[in-house]
């Protein structure tokens, strides 16, 4: 009896990786999924910090994909190792702060390590030639195979017929004829295949699965690095950039102002790490102060905090300023007017 061959599928939670895995499962290969958590992944729950998104289903799309496929999913925390990919990408960034090519090389490399440790035979991804401008071009796809060290152990079932033959095809574990020849930006072949497989309700997030492709998020990340004078971050930074309105009146401090109740609740968890403030005389949001503000800066921050509360049109607003150790004091300030906030303060 021939040996049961095993593949690991990179599962992002999107449609393409779902289809690629299903294509290989249908050829009798034992498949497990692997999903890498960089910290920048767009999760329903991260959005769910904000109340307005509560109507959308709170599901993790990678877990959902694995369940549809009936496969195990290994979710791997690569937050720390990923820093080097994001901070020093050999191939540079895409339209925003997305280092897609280096990211793919890194993930396939990690998958290669994983198959070696777990005695699997090859790796599959949902990549399609021409689908993405940076990492999924005809000239960059071989770079991923080569630089990751996966070489011909990397099979892309959705566009395999447009690429050189890989080891699983050559060895006859996989029938190349049953693989696909998708290319370009059109989604039609994927949608037709999803229909054929009977997949419904799959994720097709408009902004992709990664915050680094988002302009506003990338601007906040660059601002953070510029203010600190060095490219570094930790997980709290990554999370806080997803939440609230970010306003930087000066290089030495910025405000993170909650936009709604869900964000207030989330930011409350950081009260011991940041000076924070909220309106005392009127209803208003919680604001965290990141950086090293002077007393004068704190008064400006209080005026800004007052601007986003119900006292914005009042002559004076009382604002409670809370130190990291919980010691509170109150100041009375004039709320700043909208036209007094220079555009460049808004990150």
């Amino acid at each position: 009896m021939s040996k049961q061959r095993k593949a690991v599928a990179l599962i992002s939670g999107g449609l393409d990786s779902l289809l690629a895995a299903k294509t290989i499962i249908d050829q009798g290969i034992y498949v497990e999924g692997i999903n890498f958590f960089t910290g920048f992944c767009v999760e329903g729950h991260t959005h769910a910090i904000r109340k307005k998104d509560k109507a959308t289903p709170k599901r993790n799309n990678a877990l959902w994909s694995a369940e549809q496929l009936g496969i195990k999913l290994n979710i791997i925390d690569i937050i720390d190792e990923y820093k080097d990919v994001l901070i020093n990408p050999k191939h540079g960034y895409g339209a925003n702060m997305n280092p897609c090519l280096d990211c793919k090389v890194f993930m396939v490399h990690k998958a290669k390590e994983w198959i070696e440790e777990n005695d699997f035979d090859f790796i599959i991804t949902g990549e399609v030639i021409g689908q993405r401008p940076m990492s999924q071009r005809k000239d960059t796809m071989p770079v991923i195979a080569k630089e990751s060290g996966a070489d011909d152990l990397l099979l892309r079932p959705l566009c395999a017929k447009n690429l050189p033959i890989t080891l699983p095809e050559r060895e006859g574990w996989i029938d190349r004829e049953k693989l696909h020849d998708f290319s370009g930006r059109t989604r039609k072949p994927q949608l037709a295949l999803a229909d054929e497989f009977g997949f419904e309700d799959f994720a097709q997030p408009a902004g992709g699965c990664c915050f680094l492709t988002d302009k506003s998020y990338s601007d906040k990340l660059v601002d953070l690095w510029t203010a600190r004078g060095r490219k570094e971050y930790d997980l709290d930074d990554v999370m806080l950039l997803k939440v609230g309105r970010h306003i930087r009146p000066k290089k030495n401090f910025k405000l993170i102002v909650a936009r709604e109740e869900g964000e207030v609740r989330f930011l409350q968890g950081y009260k011991k790490e940041f000076i924070n403030m909220n309106c005392a005389s009127h209803k208003g949001p919680l604001a965290m102060i990141d950086g090293e503000p002077s007393e004068e800066d704190l008064l400006l921050a209080a005026q800004l905090t007052a601007r986003y509360g119900q006292g914005r049109d009042a002559e004076f607003v009382d604002v409670t300023i809370r130190e990291k150790d919980g010691v509170e004091r109150q100041v009375t300030v004039k709320p700043i007017k909208a036209d007094q906030i220079p555009l460049q303060w808004m990150i």
């Binding site: 999903n35 958590f37 992944c41 999760e43 329903g44 729950h45 991260t46 769910a48 910090i49 289903p57 709170k58 599901r59 993790n60 990678a62 877990l63 959902w64 694995a66 369940e67 496969i71 195990k72 999913l73 290994n74 979710i75 791997i76 925390d77 999370m239 968890g269």
Partner: protein
């Protein structure tokens, strides 16, 4: 209590303040160190766990024994397969 009950370990995992999928990752890593039949209680603050940890358990065959939601916390008690 039967023999299984006597040998069964019960552990608690604090996953408060973590946003999904980190509570799932921490649960996955903790379960790897436990034995079949052991009980794990995971305490979280991200409501997303109420969907994700049961989904992760279904995929991997672990059994959800109880889920508890309060205003600020979500607790999931599971039995390792």
């Amino acid at each position: 209590m039967d023999d299984l009950g006597k040998n069964m370990a019960k552990e608690i995992l604090n996953a408060k303040r973590l946003l999904c999928p980190l509570p799932v990752i921490r649960t996955q890593d903790k379960v790897k160190t436990m034995n079949a039949g052991d009980i794990l209680e995971v305490i979280c603050t991200d409501p997303g766990v109420m969907q994700d940890i049961p989904a992760w358990c279904r995929i991997n065959g672990h059994k959800i024994l109880e889920t508890i939601s309060t205003e600020m916390e979500y607790t999931i008690i599971l039995q390792v397969a």
